[in-house]
């Protein structure tokens, strides 16, 4: 019974914790990190408990906000009485959200180890950090479409703040760009939700799904082919695709990643787009369900087309970049393209049970794998920047000799990103490719294959510089005022450890691929049966 409290704790703990640095800051300076570390340790413990309940205890943990007054009750709509529709807001931890909860909690805690030395060290930064974590948790756990928008905005606002926390002009501009584009995207999402609310009269994901399927007595048929519903999917997809940085809606993302402080880049690259993609997957699979896409095949085809373009364009743009941070920022555009591709493949009318299964596996494994890989990559890049002042690809020449651990992590993570077995990047890509093969969507198969080659293109360029280009002449490397200006100039064990840990995890998770896919089996079955709830 106590498990029902866990979802709400996960959201409340960091939000309450966020007030502490500001309050305690009145008495002591630089208390933020300690508060954040304490809060996030609690958060991680709670998240692990919840994960245990969901995956080992085979539970679908539901919390209804507001207590006894609310919950699933008899509702009278006009002359129809209906059992089991909800009043209020649900928080749901099921086979899909459970993994993300654990991921968010652990990554947020791990990045703290990096931020201790890398900064920023102001108390306000840690308040924003905790708020962001709370927002991400809410985004992952909520079972309510409007509530999701609220958390999307919390996450967005905190990210804008964190991006700008570098206090440089460039980061302010990047944050502003992100603010405007991100808010526009969120608004699109809100419009979509509004359409759905107008037609279905509910905001709860499960209920919306049931109404769309035509289950209650007051709707005569399934609503799948109604223009309002189709348009709402269009708005929601575009809104969330903007948040997940799918080409050509990605324009905010490279600036935001490259201009924010290194710690922030690690955190947001690992979590923010990931949760947006999660939201898109959840709404696509569970709220709209495969039946919707069977009725509107063009919707999913368009989604797939955009995703495929994103894979190719993102990779090409990544290969064209000179700043390492931008290389991997664009790489995220490509990787989320892959994920959205698999999201679409799972519900494509041509996908049989097998293809759906593989596509869902692909999404889950690649979401988690990409978070680990990309977080680790940015950690390694940030540490190389603070220690050796290397920001551009050409400045990486010969660094491998000076920074063997960071370079080694970068290499392992890079290979994982390419999809070299047995790393997790391979497992995710393999399932995505396999799903496309099973569904006989050959262009997608080609794109998956091409993405591997294109990833190789930019990763190999970096590794070639690191390992095979001799160190630049001393005269070139001598003037490095940038190091001092960055404020860091040194690398802590925590920073290196985070990169190494990510590299180890990237390989280790590859071996745990079977466990990951077993964990989401209930989700696969729910999608295959077009069930609105994911029951174990």
């Amino acid at each position: 019974m106590t498990e029902e409290l866990l979802p709400v704790l996960l959201i409340v703990v960091p939000i309450l914790g966020a007030t502490l640095p500001l309050v305690l800051g009145l008495f002591r300076e630089r208390v933020g990190w300690a508060v954040a570390a304490g809060t996030l340790s609690v958060e991680a413990a709670v998240a692990t408990w919840l994960g245990y309940a969901v995956y080992i205890g085979d539970q679908r943990v539901v919390h209804v906000l507001g207590g006894e007054t609310f919950g699933r009750k008899e509702v009278t709509v006009g002359e129809f009485d209906t059992e089991g529709f909800i009043v209020g807001i649900e928080l749901v931890a099921d086979a899909l959200s459970g993994l993300l909860v654990v991921l968010v909690a652990l990554v947020a805690l791990a990045v703290l180890a990096y931020a201790r030395r890398a900064g920023p060290r102001r108390n306000a930064f840690y308040s924003a950090y905790l708020l962001l974590t709370g927002g991400l948790m809410g985004l992952v756990l909520t079972g309510d479409l409007f509530n999701l928008f609220v958390f999307l905005e919390i996450v967005g606002l905190m990210t804008y703040a964190l991006v700008a926390s570098d206090r440089s002009g460039a980061s302010a501009v990047a944050a502003l760009k992100y603010l405007i584009i991100g808010t526009t995207g969120a608004s699109m999402y809100l419009v979509g939700v509004g359409y759905l609310f107008v037609r279905t009269g509910t905001l709860n994901m499960v209920d919306v799904s049931r109404v769309l399927a035509g289950e209650p007595a007051w709707v005569e048929n399934a609503l799948y082919s109604e223009p309002l519903v189709v348009a709402s999917f269009g708005f929601i997809a575009v809104g969330l695709a903007t948040k997940a940085a799918i080409f050509p809606l990605h324009t905010w993302q490279p600036d935001a990643y490259s201009e924010s402080p290194d710690s922030v880049t690690v955190l947001i690259s690992a979590l923010v787009s990931t949760t947006a993609a999660y939201a898109l997957a959840r709404i696509t699979w569970v709220v709209f369900s495969p039946d919707f896409f069977a009725a509107n095949p063009r919707t999913v085809e368009l989604l797939l087309a955009i995703a495929a373009v994103s894979v190719v364009a993102g990779s090409l743009l990544a290969a064209m970049q000179r700043r390492v941070k931008r290389v991997f920022a664009y790489s995220s555009v490509a990787q989320f393209g892959l994920i959205v591709m698999a999201v679409g493949t799972a519900v494509h009318p041509a996908a049989g049970d097998q293809a759906t299964q593989f596509a869902v596996y692909g999404v889950v494994v690649h979401l988690i794998g990409h978070a680990v890989i990309k977080g680790g990559l940015f950690a390694a890049i940030g540490a190389l920047n603070s220690s050796a002042g290397a920001r551009y690809v050409r400045e990486y020449a010969g660094l491998a000799k000076q920074r063997p651990f960071l370079s080694g992590s970068l290499a392992v993570l890079g290979f994982s990103l390419i999809g070299v077995p047995p790393a997790v990047g391979f497992v995710g890509k393999w399932y995505i490719g396999l799903a496309a093969v099973e569904a006989e969507l050959w262009p997608l198969v080609f794109v998956v294959f091409a993405s591997t080659l294109l990833t190789l293109l930019y990763v190999a360029r970096l590794l070639e510089k690191l390992y095979f280009t001799p160190l630049a002449a001393e005269t070139d490397t001598e003037p490095r005022p940038a190091v001092a200006a960055d404020g860091g100039g040194s690398v802590s064990y925590g920073m290196v450890a985070l990169a190494v840990l990510a590299a180890v995890l990237a390989v280790g998770l590859g071996f745990a691929g079977a466990e990951l896919t077993d964990a989401v089996q209930p989700l696969v079955e729910a999608i295959q049966e077009s069930s609105p709830e994911v029951h174990p």
């Binding site: 405007i180 584009i181 348009a231 997809a237 575009v238 324009t251 490279p254």
Partner: protein, 602 residues
């Protein structure tokens, strides 16, 4: 069973390794023991013994399989192997050469004891490699002929391999099914591929080219294994025979015999006779089907038995011939008939054993060749294939003629100046024991019938009938008369060009054209690739300029506006192309995407 622990090829290959590392004398001893053991094993190991392995989880390979045909081959290969190793030892062959020869024997044994096509082709190809090494080991002129040999056998082996792959694709198993290779293209490929090994007319030129080149003891090995394994393979591929193969055998018998007649180099002469004799065997294999020619009662059994009997006998007398000729070369250092003569009085033992071998190969009554050749000729007669029958008889006349020539010019005519010793003791033992067998199997044909893979009851052949003996004597008489007439011209014929004169040139000039063509084509591609890469480099280094140049091709109104201040290069560094979208553009993009999405989905 214990026998499965010691497949013959493994025994001999181990002996080959030992012979390579041991000193000369114990090395040869091990070789004699191993090959002798193989002969003994072939005799005692019961039919149906086999070793199977699961290859790559796909192929059920049977690397050792004992059936009547492989037993016969193993028996004679083992025996002649032992005799040849002994002869090598007596002929000052060094340990390494004998080691290579033993590896050649071992791979041949692997081929004849193979229980499936895959193992067969595996050892078949290895046999080509080891025999090439054996030729190459001698150096000098042998290197070039060995290379030609390798190329031709590489092609033949590949064709046979292709046939097997095709057969596998059709049948789904590599095991011998008893039905031979799939008819159609695989059969044609197999016939040509094996045809290289047995020396089909036109594919035979490697025989007289290669076998006279290496050490004379090596020739004793070479003359035995490759062609006879070929005959065995031909039987495996075509157990029901084929009329074309039978006629090809007839053509080989005639062509080989008369080409031999024109040779002066002794080993070259003998090599043509291999083709001729293998022609009889191929004819026998070709006739080995009930559907070939006139059905009659079990005449195809007679043909198959004759073919394998001829394999057995031929190995004995051809090995013996190469040994006697080897002794002449050993003692005189001369290869050509033009430079020797009157050796009979100096080397009586060699002369006598040569006479036995010559009478055997020519099929004179009382010698083993008479038995098996008679069976094949008899089968052709009984099946009413007159043309083939005449071909085989004419081949027989040619054989008499050329061996009368060889014997006459080497041992009888003229006087050898200087002293020449006869064969040494080791050579003598090897030669006399083989010669004894030639006579024994000729006088008591029942012994041969007992070991043939086809049981004697199946064909009921009586060797010594008036007709058969008369046939043999008439052929001999024709040979004598012919030689009496042709004696003058046959001496000093000079070198007669063979088919290889055509295709060696064709190969050379064709190869030149090919090499030059490929080189030029590659150079062309290379230039193209280099240009493409440098163009790409340039675009990468000067993206702005590239865009500028491309945009000049566009209509005026579409061209982007370039400000004069736009730097083309950035302080020596390549210029950069800024393609970042501003906030406004981004929102425009977002709105456009949304519009497109809505338009498409609604």
């Amino acid at each position: 069973m214990l026998y499965e622990l010691a497949p013959p090829f493994a025994l001999v290959l181990v002996a080959a390794v030992l012979a390579a590392v041991l000193p000369r004398t114990p090395g040869h001893a091990v070789g004699v023991l191993a090959t002798g053991a193989v002969a003994a094993l072939s005799w005692i190991v019961p039919e149906g013994t086999y070793i199977d392995v699961d290859l790559f989880g796909v192929f059920d390979a049977v690397v050792y399989n004992v059936d009547p045909f492989s037993r016969l081959m193993g028996l004679i290969f083992g025996f002649i192997g032992a005799a040849a190793v002994l002869y090598s030892y007596a002929s000052d062959a060094d340990g390494s050469q004998t080691a290579i020869a033993l590896s050649y024997v071992g791979t041949s044994l692997g081929a004849v004891y193979a229980g499936d096509w895959l193992t067969l082709i595996f050892f078949w190809e290895l046999m080509a490699v080891t025999s090439t090494l054996l030729v190459w080991y001698y150096g000098g002129r042998a290197v070039r002929s060995g290379f030609r040999y390798a190329v031709l056998h590489g092609i033949g082996g590949s064709l046979f391999l292709a046939a097997i792959v095709w057969h596998y694709a059709e049948v789904g198993t590599v095991a011998f099914t008893g039905g031979g290779i799939t008819a159609g293209v695989p059969a044609a490929l197999a016939a040509i591929g094996i045809g290289v090994n047995v020396g089909f007319v036109g594919l035979h030129a490697w025989l007289p080219d290669t076998y006279p080149s290496p050490h004379f003891a090596a020739s004793v090995f070479l003359c035995v294994f490759t062609t006879k394994t070929g005959v065995y393979g031909m039987y495996r591929a075509f157990p029901d025979g084929h009329l074309w193969i039978a006629y090809m055998g007839g053509a080989m018998a005639v062509f080989g015999a008369f080409a031999a007649l024109l040779q002066s180099d002794m080993r070259r002469l003998l090599s043509y006779h291999i083709q001729s004799q293998v022609g009889y065997m191929v004819a026998g294999v070709g006739l080995g089907g009930a559907a070939i020619g006139h059905g009659g009662k079990y005449y195809h059994e007679l043909a198959t038995a004759g073919a394998f009997g001829h394999v057995f006998n031929h190995i004995l007398y051809k090995g013996l011939l190469f040994m006697t000729v080897g002794v002449i070369i050993y003692r005189t250092g001369k290869e050509s008939l033009d430079h020797i003569g009157g050796l009979g009085r100096h080397m009586p033992l060699t002369a006598i054993t040569f006479a036995v071998a010559a009478l055997s190969i020519a099929g004179f009554p009382g010698f083993n060749g008479f038995v098996s050749k008679g069976m094949i000729i008899g089968a052709a007669d009984k099946k009413h294939l007159e043309a083939l029958w005449y071909l085989l008889l004419i081949g027989g006349v040619g054989t008499f003629l050329s061996f009368i020539k060889l014997g006459y010019f080497a041992f009888l005519e003229g006087e050898y100046s200087g002293t020449v010793e006869d064969a040494n003791i080791g050579q003598s033992i090897a030669m006399v024991s083989v010669a004894g067998l030639c006579v024994l199997f000729g006088l008591v044909p029942g012994l041969l019938f007992d070991i043939l893979p086809v049981s004697a009851e199946a064909y009921e052949y009586t060797t010594y009938t008036t007709g058969h003996v008369a046939e043999g004597l008439v052929l001999a008489l024709l040979g004598l008369v012919g030689f009496a007439i042709l004696r003058g011209p046959l001496h000093h014929v000079g070198r007669v060009p063979d088919i290889d004169a055509v295709y060696n040139r064709g190969f050379f000039y064709g190869g030149r054209v090919l090499v030059v063509g490929v080189t030029e084509l590659y150079a062309l591609l290379d230039r193209g690739a280099v240009r493409f890469v440098s163009a790409t480099y340039w675009v990468g280094a000067n993206p702005t300029l590239a865009v500028l140049r491309v945009s000049r091709l566009l209509p005026q109104s579409f061209q982007p506006a370039w400000t004069e201040e736009q730097p083309q290069t950035d302080g020596g560094a390549p210029s950069r192309l800024y393609i970042r979208a501003g906030i406004g553009t981004s929102i425009l993009l977002l709105a456009s995407v949304l519009t497109v999405v809505l338009v498409v989905v609604l």
